[in-house]
Amino acid sequence: MADDILSIGGEKIGSRLFIGTGKFSDERMIKDVISASGAQVITVALRRVDAGVRGDNVLEYIPQGSILMTNTSGARNADEAVRIARIARAAGCGNWIKIEVINDNRYLLPDNLETLKAVEVLVKEGFIVLPYMNPDLVIGRRLLEAGAAAVMPLGSPIGSNRGLRTEEIVKIMARELKGSVIVDAGLGAPSDAARCMEMGCAAVLVNTAIAVSPDPANMARAFSEAVIAGRRAYIAGLAPSIETAEASSPLTGFLGEE
């Protein structure tokens, strides 16, 4: 585990739990949540960053040393996502961008095609781009080929807290797009996060389940522990499976010459 460090966009990242900052009853809680969970990558919606007002700004609760990942929440197409990313960088929010393009307010499911277009533009402009997407292996590959630092398929629709309902596809993506899959959205319980990690996902992003919990800091810690446990299981599961194969009696040993 010690040398199992996640690396994205040239940064070594200490925690595989990423945290979203929306939906909290009090933004001051975010500080405790980050500290309890040890999360290092923190997402913030630019639409909620009021650069014009001091004292009421979510950024104030994010500790130094965190990696700020601005999301493009509110973007309805690639052009709007690109514009929001540029504004975020100009406003001093850094160059990590979570692309979120949603033009269906009934289900809040992302538009993969517009997302791909936005990734193509922003990668060329030097952003570290992490697109939120509907789980799809082919689009996942295309996004990575376009230069996305990782892809973020949803576990279930945003805010549904339903857990990993897209498991079969995410599992394939985790296997094929090695180390580049971060499950985002829908994870309702720490066990969901552990499951993602056991499958080989690189990280998970959690917001609602922590934010609306009666005890967000403790819930954040629970997610963090689940992520560590799941990752440990994934790593543990790989190595012994080779040894076991060598140690076992051949299953076809009974076959003789006929």
Binding site: S25, D26, R48, N105
Partner: protein, 386 residues
């Protein structure tokens, strides 16, 4: 520019051609609705409450009298759905009245054409001043309102006011007389993020009776206004009923169906609903129907189950006590510190003013914020897509 009446006539034709929600509305016979509502049994309510996504018929059941014993269950479900989708956060905004000149004679409104009192209008520079003052109180989302007079508040005037207000606040929505699609585009280009337009009542006959004269008599042109705004690219469209005019359960049903229709047809537009309630003494001598607190709670929670991701707005027409109690039941947006007169915050503060309606919750913004915090909710001032 065409005269208001010509414009109205031409627009009616366009509305009919557009058909839109009116086709759905016409499918329902009002007596059938009443009969259906009377026929719902406990099992229908339980079945609706057990579903993940409810149908229009379930929604009608939840709005019926048979659902009233289940109000607590509805409230719990509504709270849970709202928490998941919107979190522990309530957006705050304030209304900014640009003009109270009005060509309409709506029997229930303090700004109706024949209402006594001096009419006022802010010029765009004054609108900016008013906005600057409201912004100094912390509000970052303003709803600009005008009376229904195209002559006194022409398109260019509203556009210039939007531009002036945007100098001080990022998010601006409009509550103005209905426009044509191209005119809404002008507003979108000027930076308007949202449009609020209430049908007031979906009951077509009653609508005609309470809107005695003026361009607002055109029921269809108003009904299609939200759709024209969505078509014009308005980011958010908010519809509503003025409860107290028509039969509340029926009106709530059509409001929900209208929102559903719009959201399905314009998925990129954020469709939300408002549930303002007219009370006796709000404006003049009009005697509204009685709509109880429990009716409003039923309407809010049923709407939440039917439209899980739609915003729901409650204004300062409601009392502080009632607003405090419904924070967690499904509401996502509230006005705060509202003054419902032209220039009433700063520009005309010391003058004798006419108010559109009586504000029942007169707490200032910081008091509303404190109340939300005490309930475990964050007051969101800034939520604006640049």
């Amino acid at each position: 520019m065409a005269t208001p009446s010509l414009r109205g006539a031409a627009a009616t034709k366009q509305s009919i051609k557009m058909t839109g929600f009116y086709e759905i509305y016409k499918r329902y016979d009002r007596s059938d609705i009443a009969r259906a509502q009377a026929g719902f049994k406990e099992a229908d309510i339980r079945s609706a409450l057990a579903k993940d996504a409810i149908s229009a018929s379930d929604y009608l059941a939840l709005l019926s009298a048979s659902a009233t014993p289940f109000l607590e269950d509805m409230a719990r479900r509504s709270r849970d759905i709202t928490l998941r989708n919107f979190g522990r956060a309530i957006q705050l905004y304030a209304p900014l009245y640009l003009s109270d000149h009005c060509d309409n004679e709506c029997v229930y409104c303090g700004f109706k054409r024949t209402a006594a009192g001096k009419r006022r209008k802010l010029d765009p520079r004054q609108a900016g001043k008013e906005a600057e003052y409201i912004a100094s109180l912390g509000i970052r989302h303003m709803l600009l309102l005008t009376g229904g007079s195209r002559k006194e508040s022409p398109l260019e005037y509203i556009r210039d006011s939007v531009l002036a207000v945007k100098e001080h606040v990022p998010a601006v929505s409009l509550e103005i007389y209905p426009l044509e699609t191209d005119e809404y585009r002008v507003m979108v280009e000027a930076g308007a993020d949202g449009l609020t337009v209430y049908q007031e009542t979906y009951d077509e006959e009653l609508y005609d009776r309470v809107h005695l004269s003026g361009p607002k008599k055109d029921y269809l042109f108003r009904m299609d206004a939200p759709e024209r705004a969505a078509l014009a690219g308005m980011r958010a469209v908010n519809i509503g009923v003025l409860f107290g005019l028509g039969e509340a359960r029926e009106d709530a049903f059509f409001m929900g169906r209208h929102a559903e229709y719009l959201q399905e047809k314009y998925p990129a537009c954020e469709i939300s609903v408002s549930v303002p309630r007219l009370r006796a003494g709000d404006s003049g001598s009009y005697r509204p129907r009685k709509v109880t607190d429990s009716d409003i709670v039923q309407i809010i929670t049923a709407a939440r189950l039917f439209l899980p991701r739609s915003g729901i707005t409650v204004s300062t027409r409601e009392t502080a006590e009632f607003r405090d109690n419904i924070v967690s039941l499904g509401v996502t947006r509230m006005s705060a510190g509202s003054v419902t007169a032209v220039g009433g915050y700063a520009v005309n503060k010391d003058k004798d003013l006419s108010y559109q309606f009586h504000v029942s919750d007169d707490r200032d913004i910081s008091a509303v914020r404190k109340m939300l915090e005490s309930k475990g909710y964050q007051a969101v001032f800034y939520d604006h897509v640049p």
